[in-house]
């Protein structure tokens, strides 16, 4: 349970600091089963902050998304810190960005939330189709209490949680400046059964599955934008000369995009699931990411976003890395 008053006080305190630009957190949202990111510029803005099981967004995306329009003459760049409300999984993104030197630790003030799992809005939408006047989701011990139009129903967490929460290793943010509530020890382990099952399929079956998925892609690049790790100034697909991936939407280019996106997150993906959640076409992108996460764990004993001092996976090596495939 996260006490919202403690959270608001922490936000108030943080945003009140002179060296903090703003604090990003969650507010109620206007529709459906989803909280929305919100920004506090002044202390009074902290009143709208909430934390409940609908807070699924990974807010670690915002520090890298800041607009930096060209400065006018004599203007100084704003170097104040950014405050972020982070769950355990989200904090790994910041760790990873710090590891890659995209941010410095002192650029952010992290208000950490020990998280006991969030809901998957898609699963709730299936359970409660149609129109609702009011929607509220709360933690109720080891259950979620969902109140729709005044009627409360309780669900077991496994029923509503996304896959990532079922195997969450880091419920408490790895780095934080303020922690709301008590630390929770991570006891769950990643579960690669589904991936292993898929690996065993024949090549043809695998391709048929992915062909169908990639064919759906409309190449809006929402997966890239929602990803806290995709912060390149110029994405490889937007380079015109040479143009590696054409802009037209067909199976060939879609496959190239999706494979390259997954590859570029090798050793960097922190499994927050934002890409899959924001995909308007519901392509199971996490299946690709998870496969790579599993591989690099097995091959290189590496985990992304855990240690800010570690070297990036693909920028280092060990002499005894696996090489049975080399001729």
């Amino acid at each position: 349970m996260v006490d919202e008053k403690t959270l608001r006080d922490a936000v108030k305190k943080t945003v009140g600091r002179k060296d903090v630009k703003y604090v990003v957190g969650y507010d109620k949202g206007t529709t459906g089963f989803q909280a929305a990111p919100t920004f506090a510029y002044e202390e009074k803005d902290a009143e709208k902050f909430v934390f409940n099981p609908t807070c699924v967004n990974n807010l670690a995306v915002y520090p890298m998304l800041e607009d930096k329009p060209p400065l006018r003459k004599g203007e100084e760049p704003d170097t104040r810190k950014i405050g972020i409300v982070l769950k355990g999984c989200d904090s790994r993104a910041i760790v990873q960005i710090i590891q890659e030197k995209g941010l410095k630790r002192e650029d952010v003030v992290i208000i950490g939330i020990p998280c006991t799992g969030v809901i998957d809005p898609k699963k709730l939408k299936v359970k409660f189709p149609g129109q609702h006047k009011s929607v509220e989701v709360k933690y109720d011990n080891d259950k979620f209490a969902v109140t729709v139009d005044g009627k409360t129903q309780k669900f077991s967490k496994d029923e509503l949680m996304p896959e990532k929460c079922k195997e969450c290793e880091y419920p408490t943010p790895i780095i934080h400046d303020i922690l709301i509530g008590k630390e929770i020890k991570g006891v769950k382990k990643p579960d690669y059964k589904e991936i292993e099952g898929f690996e065993k399929k024949s090549l043809d079956d695998k391709w048929k599955n992915w062909e169908k998925e990639f064919d759906k892609c409309i190449r809006c690049y929402a997966c890239r934008q929602a990803c806290p790790m995709c912060y390149c100034k110029e994405c490889m697909v937007e380079i015109l000369d040479p143009q590696w991936v054409r802009r037209s939407v067909n199976l060939s280019e879609n496959t190239a995009w999706n494979l390259l996106r997954a590859f570029h997150l090798a050793g960097r993906c922190i499994s927050c699931g934002e890409c899959e959640r924001s995909c308007p076409m519901d392509i199971p992108l996490m299946k690709l990411n998870k496969k790579i996460t599993k591989d690099i764990h097995e091959m290189f004993d590496y985990k992304a976003g855990v240690d800010a001092e570690a070297k990036p996976l693909l920028a280092m090596f060990k002499p005894d890395d696996p090489e049975e495939f080399i001729l």
Binding site: F198, E199, L203, D204, D205, K206, W207, K208, N209, W210, E211, F214, M236, W244, V245, R246, N250, L251, S252, E253, T255, A256, L259, L260, A262, F263, A266, G267, L288, K291, I292, D295, I296, M299, F300, L313, L314, A315, F317, P319, D321, P322, E323, F325, I326, L327
Partner: protein
């Protein structure tokens, strides 16, 4: 009429070892299949996966990446980095249903003309068995 399938293989060979090895194979008149089309790169570490995917898109049936033996890299660690990269990429391709044997990697030194020819033979035969790469080739139809 069924013509024998001749695979199209793109080779990214490192300037210091594999390319020199290929050169040696040529000058020593060692026979190897003509299916390999060589692109010289300064180091196997230069090979971005985007090159591999793009080659497969543009009509290659397979890709061969050649680098120096571990420890011999002209830039000290480029081939080690390439090895990691390709290990991840090959697994990813296999997972999406593309035979990982289409992307091969080899260590060939400047003195190993014979090894180079052997590798090209093996790769060509393997890919011949796999048949044309049709999964996500560009259609180029407008």
């Amino acid at each position: 009429m069924k013509e024998k399938f001749e695979p199209n293989i793109i080779g990214f060979l490192c300037n210091w070892c594999s390319y020199a090895g290929a050169d040696l194979a040529g000058t020593s008149r060692i026979q190897y299949p003509p299916n390999l089309k060589v692109i010289r790169v300064m180091c196997s570490g230069r090979v971005n996966p985007i090159f591999v995917i793009n080659a497969l898109q543009q009509g290659a049936d397979g890709v061969l990446i050649g680098g120096c033996h571990p420890g011999d890299c002209h830039y000290e660690r480029g081939n080690y980095l390439a090895r990691r990269r390709m290990a991840v990429l090959k697994n990813l391709l296999e997972y999406t249903g593309i035979d990982s044997n289409r992307v091969r990697m080899t260590w060939v030194s400047a003195a190993e003309g014979h090894k180079f020819a052997e590798v090209v033979k093996e790769v060509t035969e393997d890919i011949r068995k796999l048949g044309p790469m049709q999964h996500f080739r560009r259609e180029n139809k407008w």
